[in-house]
């Protein structure tokens, strides 16, 4: 397990990403593009938390199957909901 210093670094990165999201919002631009960028940053934050705070990175790879499977199910639901709009 990494040192506390490393985790503080991760935390600082996450906070910076949060600020970046808010800043991105105020950039004038197409709503869709800005939204996609913000959601990509958010996904990056979520993955970072899962990888380091939930230390998936240091576990056996097979554990990641569980959350990934759940996310895939959500994506299936989302795609079908979008198709049936």
């Amino acid at each position: 397990m990494p040192t506390m210093k490393f985790y503080v670094g991760i935390w600082a990165g996450l906070v910076a990403a949060t600020v970046m999201e808010v800043v991105t919002r105020s950039i004038p631009g197409a709503f869709a593009v800005v939204s996609v960028i913000i959601l990509l940053i958010s996904s990056g934050k979520a993955v970072t938390i899962a990888m380091y705070f939930q230390h998936l990175r240091y576990e056996n790879k097979s554990l990641a199957i569980l959350p990934i499977a759940a996310v895939i199910a959500v994506v299936i639901l989302a795609v079908a909901a979008w198709m049936s709009m």
């Binding site: 909901a81 198709m83 049936s84």
Partner: protein, 572 residues
């Protein structure tokens, strides 16, 4: 009798998987009796045109409760009860991974069922929306009665219970297998429970999400389902994302039971076991992607129709493969035609007919007509009522000597089966001729031409219902029979019969048990699995090679002979 009736305190406080399994089975049978009575009431109402046995509102409540109770409080938990009893024995675990959570699952299940039944006694009546609870009929504007709200909360509590169960079973089966019980060797009923619980884990949270939105609509004044901007379709999506896997949650344990019973009474390993398991997995995976065929008539666009028509056709292939594997198991076998076997054969018939009529609905053009008519009702009663009920009864009959150490009366069992099977088909086959009759209508006119088929169905209901009750009664009466001498009366091969891990002499927690005397390890003559665990079995499958083979032989060595003795320290 003495073995079953204990002090109330013991039953209230138990965390033992066997006792909780029995509690589940008894409760599920109680709910089955209630829901079955509701079914008989509906058939009585529909026996003749313009009948006024029930009012329209009472009939809709009856329809709703019958559906909800049968699917969610009877078929799913009955399987969970059998699994509670059998799965730990089949994998050689002492108990489920989280015994207290298991007990909590049971109690939340029981109380949610009580809540559900009590809805009809509240002022204003219970839910009358059908078990699908379609929006916006389920909102407070159209169903203002508090009973409806209570039903939603009861469902929420049940999804909590089932989610806990699925977490528990999956963890148990992954983590608590005895040495030697590798995935390849896992008994087929346990395999079916793996897929059932995995599906439940994926299916129930979306339902819970929908129910949360619905209960906030009914309590807090949100407008999710009363809004005309996607409300109805949103419920459809969430409900059927749960609803279709739920069908397989109900059917999978049935197939697992059939596989076990066929192996035992056809005295033959399952036909192409590995393919069977792969097909199970394929059905489980595909079942997450077919739910929209329930929504073909809601005006979804053509690409959705095509996609989901295709996935629905695709899922029928591995499913048919499962049935074919079961049927082909009988080829060149030695079949003992006793009660569990007969129930399973009946279940194969109903699952094939129900499945094939289901495939027809994969074609949108046919579904436009079938959707919402008695054809659909016939189809899913063949799949769920027929297959699952017959197969789970087979399971009860099959494991009855394990659970109670007593044997039921074979002659009564066979006769009941025959009556129930005939009654079942007389009840549900006429539904396939009622393509024009909409579901959930409480009566019909003479001019509609529905009368004759409905009368036949009602006669069938009067045969099938009592027969099902007698089937349970035969089991209960057998409690007076003398205790069996042999531990393995069927000469079955599976681990719960041949081994009893919990009571192995020398295991740290189970010495002074009387069950050791009653239930000794299998005799060699019983014939063993090629992968059997007693150390006296024949050579393991020589299919591995090289490094793997070495590792395998080492492992094999560790489970052969006397080393069945548990190791002192295990993982954890």
């Amino acid at each position: 009798m003495k073995a079953i009736v204990f002090s109330i305190k013991e039953w209230l406080t138990t965390t033992h998987h066997k006792q909780i399994g029995i509690l589940y089975i008894v409760t599920a049978i109680f709910f089955m009796a209630v829901a079955g009575m509701l079914g008989e009431m509906m058939r009585t109402q529909l026996a003749v045109p313009m009948n006024n046995f029930l009012t329209a509102f009472d009939y809709e409540q009856t329809v709703t409760l019958h559906g909800l109770l049968m699917i969610l409080w009877v078929l799913t938990p009955l399987a969970a009860g059998i699994a509670n009893y059998v799965v730990p024995l089949q994998i050689g675990a002492k108990d489920l991974a989280f015994p207290r959570m298991n007990a909590t699952s049971y109690w939340t299940y029981l109380f949610s069922g009580v809540m559900m039944i009590s809805t009809v006694f509240l002022p204003g009546g219970g839910p009358d929306t059908g078990w699908t609870l379609y929006a916006p009929l389920n909102t407070i504007q159209f169903t203002p009665q508090p009973g409806m709200t209570l039903a939603v909360l009861g469902l929420l509590l049940l999804s909590l219970s089932i989610t806990m169960s699925s977490i528990n079973f999956l963890t148990t089966i992954v983590k608590n297998r005895a040495k030697g019980v590798t995935w390849r060797r896992l008994p087929l009923f346990t395999w079916s429970i793996v897929f059932t619980m995995a599906l439940a884990l994926f299916a129930f949270p979306p339902l819970a999400a929908g129910l949360l939105l619905l209960s906030s609509d009914r309590f807090l004044g949100t407008v999710f389902f009363s809004s005309t901007q996607g409300g109805g379709i949103l419920w459809d999506e969430l409900f059927w994302f749960f609803g279709h896997p739920e069908v397989y949650i109900v059917v999978f344990p049935a197939l697992g039971v059939i596989a076990e019973v066929f192996q035992t009474f056809a005295k033959k390993p399952l036909f192409s076991r590995n393919v069977f398991i792969i097909e199970f997995a394929a059905v489980a995976f595909l079942s997450m992607g077919v739910w929209m065929h329930h929504m073909f008539t809601t005006g979804v666009n053509y690409s959705v129709l095509q996609t989901f028509s295709f996935t629905t056709l695709a899922i029928s292939v591995p499913f048919e493969g499962l049935v074919l594997a079961l049927v082909l198991t009988l080829y060149k076998s030695h079949i003992t035609l006793n009660t569990p076997m007969l129930y399973c054969l009946g279940a194969i018939f109903t699952v094939t007919l129900g499945g094939i009529t289901g495939v027809l609905q994969a074609f949108p053009v046919l579904d436009y007509t079938f959707n919402g008519t008695y054809w659909i009702v016939g189809h899913f009663h063949y799949v769920m009522a027929g297959t699952t009920l017959f197969a789970l009864l087979a399971g009860l009959y099959y494991w009855w000597p394990k659970i109670t150490k007593r044997k039921y009366n074979e002659k009564f069992g066979v006769i009941t089966f025959l009556v129930a099977f005939v009654g079942f088909n007389v009840l549900y086959f006429p539904y396939f001729f009622l393509i024009a009759m909409p579901r959930r209508i409480f009566t019909y006119t003479v001019a509609s031409g529905f009368a004759s088929a409905n009368l036949v169905a009602t006669i069938g209901a009067y045969v099938f219902g009592p027969a099902a009750a007698v089937a349970v009664l035969v089991l209960i009466l057998s409690l007076r029979n003398p205790v069996l001498k042999e531990a393995n009366p069927w000469e079955a091969q599976e681990l719960e019969w041949t081994q009893n891990y919990q009571h192995l002499p020398g295991s740290p927690t189970a010495p002074s048990s009387t069950e050791v005397a009653v239930d000794p390890p299998a005799k060699k003559s019983a014939g063993q699995w090629y992968w059997c665990m007693t150390g006296s079995c024949k050579q393991p499958r020589p299919t591995l090679s090289g490094r793997k083979k070495l590792a395998f032989q080492r492992k094999q060595g560790s489970i052969s002979g006397k080393s069945l003795m548990p190791e002192e320290k295990s993982g954890e």
